[in-house]
Symmetry: C2
Subunit: 390 residues, 2 copies
């Protein structure tokens, strides 16, 4: 599916008015922060109309939040019209807009002081006067970047705030005492760590760009490890217990047996390579769809190299490409949930591949004699992971 | 579903001609053993006709293995007729027969020198002359108890035997050099550890009773832990990384972050109570259906106690009831995949419950003032986990 949107000229954002070291030491995961003029000369990387264009696509996650007779309402997209909603009190939200619009993906770059594996997506909201999603608490870190329009944000302290479903698809929290109460102007940024209740009410039609970061829980990690073991048929050696003494209590799972069972699991956690592969696969998997446009006429390796000499390859927005210290020297990387192993000679190529959004031929040149790497690159380009901007 | 089979009178088996300590030290999980006259006066706990009766039931797992024109064939039950198969070269196999016939469940008792959590089930085969399932390797320990008829068994050494699908549902191994070649007579037992290829060919119509033991792999255990965490909503605290330094390489999951991710998983393994619950739930879950006959007129706690004073409660065949050293003092047990916690005062009750197939009122009497325990017992009896033999 190819989206043909007329998007504003590619803007390059740079963060201003914030000392990154200071931010990381005092705010990241700890305290909210209002960054006035965080972006200089901020221009919306896409317009409300373009946002509406995204929201009519089946494979793009969108939501509408509004009030009707004092009751909160939430609907899932796609949407093709907003007339019924009037001029006030509604918000349109589009998830993972960075997957679909390169200009939105640009918004992620100023946050490169955080590793890409921590990134979730860029969520965009367009709100009419009075609009907002209501007071709520998120589990993730977010930089809410104010685009056109003005919006009042109130933020409460972390603490035991009661949460409840204001609507089946809308988790709210009780009203809170604000520790921050600001009016954001275009280019301002509000950073929120997990757990701080917040409520944004739009004063005039407004665009918000939420650069969100995600984290993982032990439960998700153990599930990922289990999936990985199943998927790769690892960890299948059965527990063995030769030399056991005669057992007495039929129903007992005794300390010796329990220790054996536990040691079997521990062996999986102690296997650094298995763990690296499980974690790499998990963190590189996307939760939202990518804008993949497989090539109608796939490139051969030779054709790819020929074109690539003339123009850089661009990575599609949202594609997750990682390497792990434990396995990178062996030339292993994890892309979109899959593991690739190019061998120790390709160590440097893996770094170049995963660390950059734009891939210059020159940067990869030292490794382009490696047929497996070039074949993989051609396969990825044919699939739409990287593309030539033409 | 109530099976009404006319089964032979309840027989009680006892193991003969084997020193259990010797067996455990030298054979269990290590070396095959032929136990001549392992059962004295062995009488089939059910007849071939009764076996056929089980094999026509939808919820009982059965298989037919036979040869047609030199090709191996395997079919899944239920079956209602065997006439098409003739008089030779076929075998009928019924899995978990101990779940359905108390007399078959009796066969497990002589093996009480192994803990019940290691037990899988009792599989029964009826084979006509020339019949057998072909040369194969199992991953589990098994005591193949010869009932009526004679059967020749050949067993090969452990080693790298090629395995292949002789039929989509039949994994065979290449022919092997026998290290054991015996003719089993009624009451003889052949013990096989995992990995030893074996092949049994029936000389005259024969019944075999395979008391099988199972083990667990790291992969199964990690999956069970993952399921448990999801099921009980545990391990949901997100990784936190305040104070991180400015990141440089976008695609890198560095050693510090990797250690954080690993520590999250490790915390789950280090939580003995979580692990005990995950393992207890997993090991007490049944892979085959139980013959549960919920009571039409459920007992109240008072009624249960009244009846129980007059007759013992019998545990249904195959029900898995365990406790783990780590949590038993708190009164925790695991029955059929669920965790029950009766509190420290019921420690002794939990032992009595899980260690015995027959529950005397007197044995539980010290704890029958505990309303939660009595309610649970009534609930279990109403569900069919325990029953009065009338
Ligand atoms: O843009 C909005 O209306 C909501 C933004 C928000 O709450 C967030 O990004 O966490
Ligand atoms: O009874 C049979 O035909 C097969 C028995 C067997 O191979 C086993 O129990 O492992
Ligand atoms: Co929020
Ligand atoms: Co076998």
């Amino acid at each position: 599916m190819a989206l043909s949107l007329t998007v504003s000229a590619m803007s390059t954002f740079t963060l201003a008015n914030v000392s990154i070291d200071d931010f990381l030491a005092k705010h990241w995961q700890q305290q909210p922060l209002v960054i006035r003029g965080g972006f200089e000369h901020f221009a919306d990387p896409l317009s409300p109309d373009e946002l509406a264009g995204l929201a009519c696509e089946e494979q793009i996650e969108s939501r509408l939040v509004y009030r009707r007779g004092g009751e909160w309402q939430a609907e899932h997209g796609p949407f093709d019209s907003y007339e019924r909603l009037g001029e006030r009190d509604w918000t349109l939200i589009v998830q993972a807009a960075n997957h679909w619009v390169p200009e939105v993906a640009e918004l992620v770059k100023p946050f490169a002081f955080l590793p890409k594996w921590r990134l979730d997506d860029v969520m965009i909201s367009y709100a009419t006067p009075g609009g907002g999603v209501g007071p709520h608490i998120d589990r993730y870190d977010v930089f809410i970047c104010q685009g056109s329009g003005r919006r009042r944000w109130r933020v409460g302290a972390r603490g035991p705030h009661r949460e409840f479903a204001a609507h089946a698809a809308l988790l709210h929290c009780d009203p809170f005492e604000p520790i921050i109460d600001v009016e954001l102007l275009p280019g301002d940024i509000l950073y929120l760590p997990p757990g701080f209740p917040h409520d944004g009410v739009t004063l005039e039609a407004s665009m918000s760009f939420s650069v969100g970061f995600r984290s993982k829980s032990p439960s998700e990690l153990v599930s990922a490890l289990a999936d990985h073991l199943l998927d790769k048929e690892l960890g299948n050696e059965l527990l063995s217990d030769p030399g056991r003494p005669a057992h007495r209590q039929q129903g007992r799972i005794d300390a010796t047996d329990f220790a054996r069972l536990r040691a079997q699991m521990q062996a999986m956690l102690d296997d650094e390579a298995v763990l690296a592969d499980a974690v790499g696969a998990m963190l590189s998997r996307n939760k939202c769809e990518l804008d993949l446009q497989p090539l109608q006429e796939p490139y051969t390796s030779a054709e790819l190299l020929e074109y690539w000499r003339q123009a850089p390859l661009l990575r599609i927005g949202g594609l997750r490409c990682f390497y792990v210290d434990a396995t990178v020297a062996a030339g292993v990387c994890y892309i979109d949930g899959s593991r690739y192993n190019f061998g120790p000679a390709c160590h440097g190529a893996v770094l170049a591949l995963c660390d950059n959004d734009e891939l210059d031929y020159a940067a990869l040149a030292p490794w382009l004699e490696q047929p497996e790497l070039v074949q993989a690159l051609a396969q990825w380009v044919n699939r739409g992971y990287w593309y030539f901007d033409d």
